[in-house]
Symmetry: C2
Subunit: 671 residues, 2 copies
Amino acid sequence: MAQWIWYPGDFEFFLGLGVSAARMERGIVITPNWRVENFYNNVRFSKEVELKEDQRIRIYSTGTQCVMLDYDWYSHYDPREGVLVPKGKHVIWVYVFSRELLPSIYINCPGVETDASWQVTSDHLRWKKAGCWNFTDPEKPPTTFRLERSPIEPEKITLLEHGRLYDFGRETMAFVKGEVSGSGTLTVFFGESREEALDTENCCIFECVSVEEGMDSFYIPRSQAFRYLYIPDVPGITLGRLHADYEYLPVKNKGAFQSEDPLMNQIYEVAIRTMHLTTREFFLDGIKRDRWVWSGDASQSYLMNYYSFFDNDVCKRTMRLIRGKDPVITHFNTIQDYTLYWFISLWQYYLYTADQEFMEEMYPAACTLMEEFCLPQTDSRGFLMAKPTDWVFIDWADIPDMNKGDLSFIQLLFAYALKALGQVAGVLGRQKEQERYEGMHRSLLEQVFAVFWSEERGCFTHGPAASPDAYVTRYANIFAILFGCLDQEKTQRVIRSVLCNDAVYEITTPYMKFYELLAFCEAGLFQEAESYMKSYWGGMLKLGCTSFWEKYDPKNTGIQHAHMYGLKYGVSFCHAWGAGPVLLLGKYYLGVRPVTAGYEQFVVEPHLIGGRQISGKVPVPEGEICVALDQERAVVENHSPGTGELLVDGRRIRIPAKGRVEVKRQQAGIE
Amino acid sequence: MAQWIWYPGDFEFFLGLGVSAARMERGIVITPNWRVENFYNNVRFSKEVELKEDQRIRIYSTGTQCVMLDYDWYSHYDPREGVLVPKGKHVIWVYVFSRELLPSIYINCPGVETDASWQVTSDHLRWKKAGCWNFTDPEKPPTTFRLERSPIEPEKITLLEHGRLYDFGRETMAFVKGEVSGSGTLTVFFGESREEALDTENCCIFECVSVEEGMDSFYIPRSQAFRYLYIPDVPGITLGRLHADYEYLPVKNKGAFQSEDPLMNQIYEVAIRTMHLTTREFFLDGIKRDRWVWSGDASQSYLMNYYSFFDNDVCKRTMRLIRGKDPVITHFNTIQDYTLYWFISLWQYYLYTADQEFMEEMYPAACTLMEEFCLPQTDSRGFLMAKPTDWVFIDWADIPDMNKGDLSFIQLLFAYALKALGQVAGVLGRQKEQERYEGMHRSLLEQVFAVFWSEERGCFTHGPAASPDAYVTRYANIFAILFGCLDQEKTQRVIRSVLCNDAVYEITTPYMKFYELLAFCEAGLFQEAESYMKSYWGGMLKLGCTSFWEKYDPKNTGIQHAHMYGLKYGVSFCHAWGAGPVLLLGKYYLGVRPVTAGYEQFVVEPHLIGGRQISGKVPVPEGEICVALDQERAVVENHSPGTGELLVDGRRIRIPAKGRVEVKRQQAGIE
């Protein structure tokens, strides 16, 4: 089937240009402090075709086009008439140029259909497999892509002394529109909270609408994040019905979670909603702020996605956008660890999806990133050093200043990034490269233990353990558990000395808290994880949140929760990294996770919530796995071609392909 | 004085996008087979300012803007009101984002004026000196730049049986416009020759004009190259006055040349005209075709420019555009030698202009080009090897196939490129780097002599001299003379065995012929050069040319002259490399050339034309040098602060700064 094709990655850069300039603050567009990529303007498509008879090939394109047939200019070319290609074998080259639109072509003629079998070049030397997605209509090129829209209405309208307050009932992202007459300037104040919308001096987002005589409606052409809108009365303007178009990526939650605890169920629902709002052209951090694509944030969204939408496309788009073009000059989003997450996410994507094609696409870019950007920054120990200009962001905890290079968590992440790249190499049958990267992984890991492991304290220290100022943070210790670097004994020591030790700097972001909870679960501390979920995410729900926040400190009250960065409403109230329970509940409570790529083999190791009951399902590439657990039995329905093992009460029961397993539990209430 | 500023090089890439998509062939845009650069979309400008009192800073920009003051977001920012900057020292950051327009800013407040003292970054790590030119009006940002236009009229209108033929009297580049009424589609056929315009099936360029009821005029929004226009009659359309807007870069010829030979004077005039037509946003190869920027072609235009417009800006724009961005993946214009000319042109630019600032701007990019692109492609001898995909273009002579790596002319060009880069390093006081590159130059030159010099034949062979198939071409021998690699004795041998040897493959492009004529002059063969100019350029004039051609073979007749690339009108009839006499007459007959950068020291070594008289002037950075020579005396008027030497009749006479020298010749008619 013919598809629109383009230079791989360029569709993402084309969309990224729009996304990078969508964050607003009081009428001003705030743009990122990193390089924003543009697509290539002048690309050449190529294909060797064999025709059974002479044909006129009609080429659709999103820019100017010119054609070479068998390495000669096709002269007297009229694109409306097409290219006359004689019977037999021929090489077709199509040059497409556009200043402003992604260059792309579409051909749908017998024997000549555009698809991923075409080659494309931007530098006119190195050919790559063409990029494509699901654009099959010649009249709808990729440049017409936009998210879906569907109408929404305010749930409640309150007439105030000087204006109207609209409550849409929950956080949303929408184009505001309305009926209007008269003339003047209407201002719409947006709020993720009621307080924000009403605080016209300090709310983050407002839009001005010029109303002119003869207009009967308005449509704000930018979608914005809000739950509340406040519109002050303007003499001379009559405002009629106000509503909006919800803007969203059409993905559906393919997972499910249910327990007897309504709070946990609500946490799951709101986490899914938070995920959906932040899952768009790309995985965004938050929909109000920063409305940007951050590699560290995205590395969590990918994981949550595997337990909800299982949408490969948004993962691929996000990874392509973050990788950008060469030369890489700064760490992704300028943050040292954010580069490293990208490698790890690439491997995890393969583990969940078994999408080998994407590995083939990205592996060369992953290698140049490692070889040309990361490795030249290592020291004699193999440690990834930081430049003074690098940002090393891990959490907002108030920890002492650090020598950016000698940080245990960075080196652990780097070691795991090397391993991830080695594993990707292995998937592609590049054994030598696999050995190289995995060898580097092993020797780096040895160095990490030598430098950062404190036998005395029973954990990794933040900087070198031998330093007289050495102190402990949670980060490296969490990663060590997640990456499986610790044996049983060391794991237990880390749990005691760090994870369950209140004297260690508390984690202040849900972002890092997410990893801590994963580590709790990996270490078997399900009670602790559950109880934290209830108090932390439950705490936000008690405050009436309809999506999870960027930051939540139970010690705050009222609108204090919104304060950040010196701004009254600085906190993002719909932030992807707040959706952690999606993964926690799916991977550790329903307990479903892949053992080999794409769930060809998997395990189901369920755990109860509140000691009672849970049920739900987890999507896999070719189906889903349904799990139910209560004190009496465990049931797994495997609607997938993979095979698995049910781990319950210390037993291992084989789960057949497309089969069902029901196990009577031997000791009720064992958990 | 405040100026619009931008990321250095981006103005060129912004203009380059337009120029790269302006070549047309029968309604189709033909785009180059190399990467076309785009500007950076998201840049950040920075300046540390010190204000004597509080000020509101109004920032003009060509994209969205947001501001950081002393590393904090400037919130509640309304660009119409400006940024309130308190008295004292502050760091201002302005972020500008634009998808489609070059991001640029303009500030004109006391103490805060945008100019080249600002810094700018595209990758948000490495800061560069901001780019600027002569945009000082806040309402006219660099994105509004366009060439000048002035109205022109056809010289002659011929009514033919089915249409009208307009002759504008000479080659031009213009927007065609006219008075019209009725309805239908008018087609305008363009011709650099009468034949081309009338050959509606094969002419290179045509434009269709939709005429609708109520229209009284039309304006074709693309300027095109032509001398003739043919417009067939269309029933239902009445065509009134037809005229055009000549489009040009407003540069003036600051040189002059006059002799008693009207043909030579005409050659000079038409060469200047050819130069002017091809000197535009950048130095183009030809105005009809390819209408692109080729490094090899431009390397000649720069030189001609120093003897005519002496416009530094078009040189800088062209060199920036050709250099492009990193990573460099292919040779410039895909041609191996075209990369090398760029280095040489950079040095020559300095020699003529003494523009150290531009050396500072380009030196880092010149180094990465050498270190990251060229040097990794060298073999153990230091030879620059070619990849199979590289194009090695030197001339259209029908010489045997060659091993692309082992070519004497490439290695000589490479050696001189290394020397040029070393000299640029020297200008910037980078002594070690100068020594490095000049050392590489010397050892490469030794290798070149060892491998390619044939003592037996008394010249360089095309490939290795020891090869049994070795043959001789002119190219390396010409370059060896131009680069001063040969001693007196070797020079004489090369002249005899190559330059004056008809058995050696004849040069077929004016492009390479240009270098051969320079070599003739360098070797003192003025009679030969003069006689060739008269026959070759004079030959075109006899055929009625009004600008010089891409190719001219006296053996052809009539419209045969236009045949090329299998196209009836393939030859470009206004081609920069056809303007060689501008340089020949200025540098070798008026004989004015710099000895040290910017003509601080210079020589004047004039030669007669036709044994009679010549006079003229040559522009220098701060003035001009006027020369007159006849059989009795030589006169130099030095309207510049530099000092020179007049070399005439074997004498050396000092020319003082801003002074005049008149010398009676001792032997009349010596030449």
